[in-house]
């Protein structure tokens, strides 16, 4: 009798535990589903054969395909990701989405495309350990905000430029033509005023270039031209600055260079940015070597200095916006952290590459490539005898002259 009571009790307890446990698991599963469905991100899980195995509610709304339809299909037929207008397959964005800030778009059924950000990660789903979890986010609001920011910067910079030109103009007028009426101290103050306004002008010009880059508005008008002309012109404009710091400043050019297919004005900016950096970050008595190498299908240009160098950990971020090597601010060197970002963008718009190699205390080398003009481009270009030339004054002024 006692034995029977104990047995029944045990069975009851086990049953109760099983029931509670089951309903608990059920509740947990429901909660989990609710959480996943209420996420702002669309969540899609694909198996190793790139077939959709899971699809949350946000994905249904965002992509416009029902879970039942999506499940079992190849991910590329459900999720149409594009970059510019070209479709980007799963294999590609799976590799690049977590690291790059590339702009991907989602092409939805019967509506316009939306800018998205994608993240992917390896995932275990059920017994399948080779799944991939894709999470998508609508980035169109961020993009709108980004555009507003760029518009604002661009407008502010434009509006600042006119009064600033006036301030600079009057200052240099005072310095050039009324200096006899000023004492030594006033002249010194005037020089400082001019240096500061010049820095401000450069900053504003850089901001405008950045806002053009970010709106994809920075145009390069390529034409075949002789890069050595611009290199020599810019080289000689910096010679005085190098002499005042007793720097050995040399330009190495091959005897004959093929014409490059590039925008002379923009390439001039690249030369100016790299050379002025090299001069600024190289101490007195150091050396700066600018070399151009003929690599047949492209030219390789290097700007090498024996300056303070760049710490290894700073190299990957060197070409990003507003990045400045830590410590350079304290050392009193001027700069906005925009020059190299603009430089890289210009080189990339020419389908060229740029990289920096550096050793702390030894110096840095910046190398970029510019494609040479093909035979077709040489024969097609109607302006081939009509080059616009650049004149550079003191390493910053740019005057374009028509040769007579």
């Amino acid at each position: 009798m006692l034995f029977l009571t104990v047995l029944v009790s045990i069975i009851l307890v086990v049953l109760i535990i099983v029931i509670i446990n089951n309903s608990y698991l059920q509740a947990l599963k429901n909660a989990q589903k609710n959480i996943i469905d209420s996420l702002h991100e669309a969540i899609i899980i694909v198996d190793e054969h790139k077939k959709v195995v899971f699809y949350n509610q946000t994905a249904e709304k965002f992509i416009g395909t029902q879970t039942q339809t999506a499940r079992g299909q190849l991910v590329d037929t459900v999720l149409k990701v594009t970059k510019d207008t070209a479709p980007v397959p799963f294999d590609i964005y799976c590799q690049s989405s977590n690291t790059s800030d590339e702009k991907f778009f989602l092409q939805q059924e019967g509506s316009e495309k939306t800018q998205i950000s994608i993240a992917t990660r390896k995932h275990i789903y059920g017994n399948d350990s080779k799944c991939t979890l894709i999470s998508l986010q609508d980035a169109s609001k961020e993009r709108q905000l980004e555009e507003m920011k760029v518009d604002f910067v661009s407008m502010a910079a434009h509006e600042l430029r006119t009064p600033l030109t006036a301030i600079r103009g009057y200052t240099s007028l005072l310095q050039m033509h009324y200096a006899t009426q000023l004492d030594a101290e006033a002249k010194e103050l005037l020089t400082r005023l001019l240096v500061s306004t010049t820095n401000l002008t450069n900053l504003i010009d850089n901001l405008l270039s950045v806002s053009r880059i970010e709106r994809n508005n920075l145009t390069v008008e390529t034409k075949p031209f002789d890069l050595s002309i611009i290199a020599k012109d810019i080289f000689s404009s910096f010679q005085q600055q190098a002499q005042t710091k007793k720097q050995h400043f040399t330009l190495n050019l091959p005897n004959k260079l093929p014409l490059v297919m590039a925008d002379p004005f923009r390439i001039g900016q690249v030369f100016i940015n790299l050379i002025s950096n090299a001069l600024n970050y190289t101490p007195e008595g150091g050396a700066i070597i600018v070399s151009i190498f003929d690599k047949k299908s492209y030219l390789e240009i290097s700007v090498q200095d024996t300056g303070e160098g760049i710490p290894e950990e700073a190299l990957p971020r060197l070409f990003t916006k507003f990045f400045r090597v830590s410590g350079s601010l304290e050392q009193g060197s001027k700069g906005t952290g925009l020059g190299l970002y603009i430089t890289k963008s210009i080189v990339q718009l020419h389908n060229g590459k740029i990289r920096a190699d550096s050793k702390l205390g030894k110096g840095s080398t910046f190398t970029f490539t510019i494609p040479t003009a093909t035979q077709d481009q040489l024969t097609q270009d109607p302006h081939r005898n009509d080059h616009a030339f650049l004149t550079v004054k003191n390493g910053q002024g740019i005057i374009v002259k028509k040769p007579r």
Binding site: H158, R161, T162, P163, L164, T165, A166, R168, G169, Y170, S172, L173, M176, H177, T201, I204, D205, T219, V220, E221, D263, F265, D386, A388, K393, Q396, G397, I398, I399, V400, K401, K402, R404
Partner: protein
């Protein structure tokens, strides 16, 4: 004294350029917009026109186009475009319309512009001499 017309709508910039060119020995006249510039060019001869692009009533590009279609000698006046616009397409268009030079005003000091114009006249005279 060389007679020069400065067409620029911003009061301060116009003032700076007139001062610096006067101080450098030029006979300076000013125009406050594109229409004003074209009327003055039609009315009397100049040896040089400095032309802003973004001006009310008529843009510098339109002034350039109009001047180049005037009867000689007015159409052959040297024209330097002075602007803040850095866009290549504006430069290209102005080149096609026959401008003689292009200066980005935010990039250079007023004195550099004067130097540039002085150079222009020196070069012009030196190329003229051997032929005459």
């Amino acid at each position: 004294m060389r007679k020069i017309l400065i067409a620029e709508d911003d009061f301060f910039i116009r003032d700076i350029y007139s001062k610096v060119f006067s101080l450098s020995g030029y006979d300076v006249q000013v125009a406050v917009d594109g229409m004003d510039a074209l009327e003055k060019i039609k009315a009397q001869p100049y040896e040089m026109i400095l032309l802003d692009i973004m001006m009310p009533k008529m843009t510098g590009i339109d002034v350039l186009r109009n001047v180049r279609s005037l009867p000689p000698p007015a159409k052959d006046v040297p024209i330097f475009v002075i602007t803040n616009l850095g866009q290549q397409n504006v430069i290209e268009e102005a080149f096609k319309l026959g401008m003689d030079g292009y200066i980005l005003k935010s990039q250079v000091s007023p004195q550099q512009i004067v130097d540039e114009i002085n150079n222009f006249f020196t070069n012009k005279e030196s190329t003229k001499q051997p032929t005459s």
